[in-house]
């Protein structure tokens, strides 16, 4: 029995050590998507539950494995007894009853721990101070609408940091415009799917500012892999400033009117919106404040002039199979258009 205990302890320590390593590695790395480095209440309660479950399953593993290895070593055939058969035992009601009842008890414990956390996360009421965001999944990008704030943006979600004393959690209403998607930022919360005709809800209350990465987790078509997402957790002041900027109509600069005309007279406006212009398409991301985002193509490329130019001329070079068509613009039109897009701050 002592040996079993030691094995269990070693097992538990080594598992704990592994996760500590992973957590440390994550803390040092800003682009981490580690489920063991939680930064928000839902992710944290999941993390604590997972440690509990890992401990129980680890103990079960150690016990059963010890029994298995012991019986293999102890009862292996030896040449001395090659010709005789061992005692023919058919079963034992007491032993079988024991190893039926003990697993039942374990299941009851695990179930109660699970039900508690499910209820705490899933049925959490929305406080009045919450920020509401409607997330709409598209093939292969994210649309974010802030109904209380009148902001529409894409791919890069901005939310305020939540002070435990005065929590300002963010509640996401999840919708889909086409196929199924799944919103997953591992350090902030578990994932929830965006299913057409089936609105879902999830929430997060990050404790630290910073950028958190994630991506679509439910297969949604050709470019599921590059449907990335990033969440920028801002201080309340930064968030208020960001909202103020996003609410502005698009900058109207006379010097780039040629580029604006290119935008408004080509297929761009079928899919994209720019507030304050005739462009009001909903199929692609809102471009009113395109330059306030650090990436394009749902995170597939950094938002640099070269990448943007490439994206307009040949989207397949960045994200093969995305629904953005190659725009086939002449060089002068493209230069003008780029000039216009770069003013959309």
């Amino acid at each position: 029995m002592q040996r079993v205990k030691n094995t269990i302890r070693t097992e538990f320590y080594s598992v704990a050590f592994l996760f500590c390593c992973m957590a440390t590695a994550a803390a040092a790395d800003p682009s981490s998507t580690n489920v063991f480095a939680p930064q928000s209440t839902p992710a944290k309660s999941i993390f604590h539950l997972s440690l509990f479950v890992l401990a129980i399953t680890g103990i079960i593993f150690a016990v059963v494995c010890t029994l298995l290895v012991y019986s293999l070593l102890k009862f292996r055939a030896r040449s001395s007894s090659a010709n005789s058969e061992p005692a023919q035992v058919y079963g034992s009601t007491q032993i079988e009853l024991a190893w039926t009842v003990i697993p039942i008890l374990i299941v009851v414990v695990l179930f109660m721990a699970t039900a508690r956390v499910v209820h705490a996360i899933q049925d959490a009421p929305m406080p009045a101070s919450a920020v509401e965001v409607t997330v709409i999944g598209h093939q292969f990008w994210w649309e974010y609408r802030y109904p209380q704030l009148g902001v529409v943006t894409a791919n890069e979600l901005h939310i305020p940091v939540s002070d435990p004393a005065h929590p300002t959690p963010t509640f996401l209403q999840l919708l889909s415009a086409d196929t199924d998607h799944s919103f997953w930022v591992p350090e902030l919360a578990g994932k929830t799917d965006l299913v057409p005709n089936h609105p879902n809800r999830m929430w997060m209350d990050p404790e630290h500012t910073g950028t958190f990465l994630g991506q679509c987790a439910q297969y949604c078509g050709t470019q599921h892999a590059k449907m990335l997402l990033r969440v920028s957790v801002d201080t309340p002041e930064d968030f208020a400033e960001w909202v103020r900027e996003q609410r502005q109509p698009a900058v109207a600069d006379e010097r780039v009117s040629a580029g604006k005309r290119v935008f408004e007279t080509t297929a761009c406006i079928n899919c994209h919106s720019i507030k304050g212009t005739v462009a009001n398409g909903r199929f692609g991301p809102d471009l009113t404040h395109l330059m306030s985002r650090s990436t394009i193509a749902a995170g597939a490329a950094l938002n640099t002039p070269e990448n943007l130019r490439l994206w307009i001329q040949n989207p397949d070079a960045i994200k093969r199979g995305s629904l953005m068509p190659a725009m086939q613009l002449s060089k002068s039109d493209l230069d003008a258009l780029m000039g216009y897009l770069e003013t959309l701050r």
């Binding site: 992973m22 590695a25 790395d29 981490s32 998507t33 580690n34 489920v35 992710a43 999941i46 539950l49 997972s50 479950v53 890992l54 593993f61 059963v64 029994l67 298995l68 019986s71 009862f75 055939a77 061992p86 005692a87 023919q88 035992v89 058919y90 079963g91 079988e96 190893w99 039926t100 697993p103 299941v107 695990l110 179930f111 721990a113 699970t114 039900a115 956390v117 499910v118 209820h119 996360i121 899933q122 999840l174 086409d178 196929t179 199924d180 591992p186 578990g190 929830t192 799917d193 299913v195 057409p196 005709n197 089936h198 879902n200 679509c216 987790a217 439910q218 078509g221 892999a225 093969r320």
Partner: protein, 557 residues
């Protein structure tokens, strides 16, 4: 098989021409030949599905790799999953059922030999139809050829708006056709077990393998029918203006998920029941003891069969069911662990106090035990709903179910190959090649699937054709890919062993393992009629009774 040329003194009868032999195989209704056909067919598709897996692993070796396009990658993982589930593991398990069940219950054939042949050819046609999509699938400009909607084909991806052309029609029709084949075979297995047992073989005396196949047959009937219904509804959506799953017209994507997983989860147990069956035969023989707690094993099998029909929505914890539904499916899923645990304990109980011989079938079964234990525990971790919100749809899940299917089912299946190959061919598989196969496959398996859990924990979703650098996934994926190639080498050794031993293996004799069930009482390979006289049994181990008349099992029943 070895009866092509018969020599009678003074008269020489020529071997049959090849065409006639082929004709015999194609028109056969003999359960043993159909069993062999099922197995060979499945092995062929195992190689195809394996090559697809290798291409997937080459693509994922490092971030932003460009070995295949996203379109091709999506086709590959769709075809890999569909092939492995429907055209490898299902047929190979049916093949073993066909071959073994009549022999083990002392029957001369299945209950419905013609239905048996019909079902096999339906399944075979289904697989060919799926792969014909590579040639016939492209219809519209820009529409792909082979299906790329995933083996689960979540609505509305399968709707015409998102899946133009005919690629997903091939998927739908091939599963429909092979599904009818599966239903036919399941009916046949159940009827055979219930009606064709030899005198004295009461239900309580059947070998556990037969019991498990009885449960498996019943589960096929329960599980495949909703899948077939869903496929028909999808066809109605696509061609007759239906809106079951067409969300653009108010259909329900969640309904498809329920239909798919009410098939999909019992399906896992349909595949694992035969693996349990093989272990329940092999472990006692190589421990030289009867199975520990036979009645508990039977009860646990039936319990798994029943409970597993009420766990399907644990595949849908992230879909947005309410908290009551989520907790319900959590407890049912955890509850499956109880009878499964009983089985594992009973196998250990069987070995306890035995004289364990580490022959190849036993080695593979021990691999099964160890890996299935881990797979079950990671399953319990995922049954914990909130933890599953992190783990589902990530590479952790991919690692988990490959642990079940490769580490569990495939290991038990290899054990079964090494155990019954002598009965089927009359020759032993090479022990030396078998050891190479075992160790290479064991190492490759653990290099691949142990490591694969970690990228999931680090946030790597499944079904992505490429990934971003700098997330700590690169090295792990490279290791996973290397392991996949080690496994591929092991499979080549195995196939080579099957071929070489057929011609050069040591003669097996009737009963090379000193075993106790009826199939070992007849010649290897068995004659067309199986038994010259129908056997009569008085216990669960008729051959033990025969070999130990001083201490027969029948004395204790």
């Amino acid at each position: 098989m070895s009866s092509n040329a018969i020599t009678v003194p003074g008269i020489r009868i020529e071997g049959k021409p090849l065409v006639e032999t082929l004709h015999e195989w194609i028109t056969t209704v003999d359960h043993k030949r159909l069993g062999i056909l099922y197995v060979i067919y499945a092995l062929g598709f195992l190689v195809v599905g394996g090559v697809e897996a290798l291409i997937i692993r080459i693509q994922l070796m490092h971030s932003h790799n460009d070995f295949v396009s996203p379109q091709v990658f999506n086709r590959l993982f769709t075809m890999h999953g569909t092939t492995m589930i429907f055209f490898v593991v299902m047929p190979v398990m049916f093949g073993f059922a066909n071959y073994l069940v009549p022999l083990m219950i002392g029957a001369r054939d299945m209950a419905f030999p013609r239905l048996n042949a019909f079902s096999f050819w339906l399944s075979a046609f289904g697989g060919l139809l799926l792969y014909f999509s590579f040639l016939g699938g492209s219809g519209l400009y820009g529409a792909g050829n082979a299906p790329d909607v995933g083996w689960w084909a979540y609505a509305p991806l399968g709707a015409r708006a998102f899946s133009p052309g005919h690629s997903s029609d091939y998927w739908t029709l091939s599963l429909l056709v092979s599904g009818f084949g599966s239903i036919g075979t399941a009916i046949n297995i159940i009827a055979t077990i219930l009606c064709m047992r030899c005198p004295g073989m009461k239900l309580g005396r059947m070998p556990l393998l037969v019991w498990l196949y009885l449960v498996m047959g019943g589960m096929v009937l329960i599980a495949i029918t909703p899948l077939s219904a869903a496929q028909i509804m999808l066809l109605i959506d696509r061609y007759l203006g239906g809106h079951f799953f067409d969300t653009q017209a108010g259909g329900s994507a969640v309904l498809w998920m329920h239909f798919f997983w009410i098939f999909g989860h019992p399906e896992v147990y349909i595949l694992v029941m035969p693996a349990f069956a093989f272990c329940s035969e092999i472990i006692p023989v190589f421990s030289r003891k009867p199975i520990f707690g036979y009645p508990a094993m039977v009860a646990a099998s039936v319990a798994i069969g029943l409970v597993s029909t009420s766990v399907w929505a644990h595949h849908m914890f992230s879909v947005g069911m309410n908290s009551y539904a989520n907790t319900f499916f959590a407890i049912t899923t955890m509850a499956v662990g109880i009878p499964t645990g009983i089985k594992i304990f009973n196998w250990i109980g069987t070995m306890w106090g035995g004289r364990i011989q580490f022959k190849l079938p036993m080695l593979f079964c021990l691999g099964f035990l160890f890996q299935f234990l881990i797979a079950g525990l990671t399953g319990i971790i995922q049954a914990t709903v909130p933890v599953d919100w992190q783990l589902t749809l990530s590479y952790f899940v991919v690692a988990h179910f490959h642990y079940v299917i490769v580490g569990g089912i495939l290991f038990a299946l290899f054990g079964a190959f090494y155990y019954w190959y002598p009965k089927v061919t009359g020759r032993m598989l090479s022990e030396r090649l078998g050891k190479w196969h075992f160790w290479l496959f064991l190492i490759g398996f653990h290099v691949t699937f142990d490591v694969m859990h970690i990228p999931g924990l680090l946030g790597m979703p499944r079904r992505i054709y490429t990934y971003e650098p700098g997330r700590g996934w690169d090295t792990l994926n490279l290791i996973v890919s290397i392991g996949a190639f080690i496994q591929a080498v092991a499979i080549l050794v195995f196939v080579w062993n099957l071929i070489v031993s057929y011609f050069k293996g040591a003669k097996a004799g009737n009963d090379p393992w000193d075993a106790w069930t009826l199939e070992w009482s007849t010649s290897s390979p068995p004659p067309a009629y199986n038994f010259a006289t129908v056997p009569v049994v008085a216990s669960r181990r008729p051959l033990w009774d025969l070999k130990h008349p001083e201490d027969p099992d029948s004395q204790y029943e």
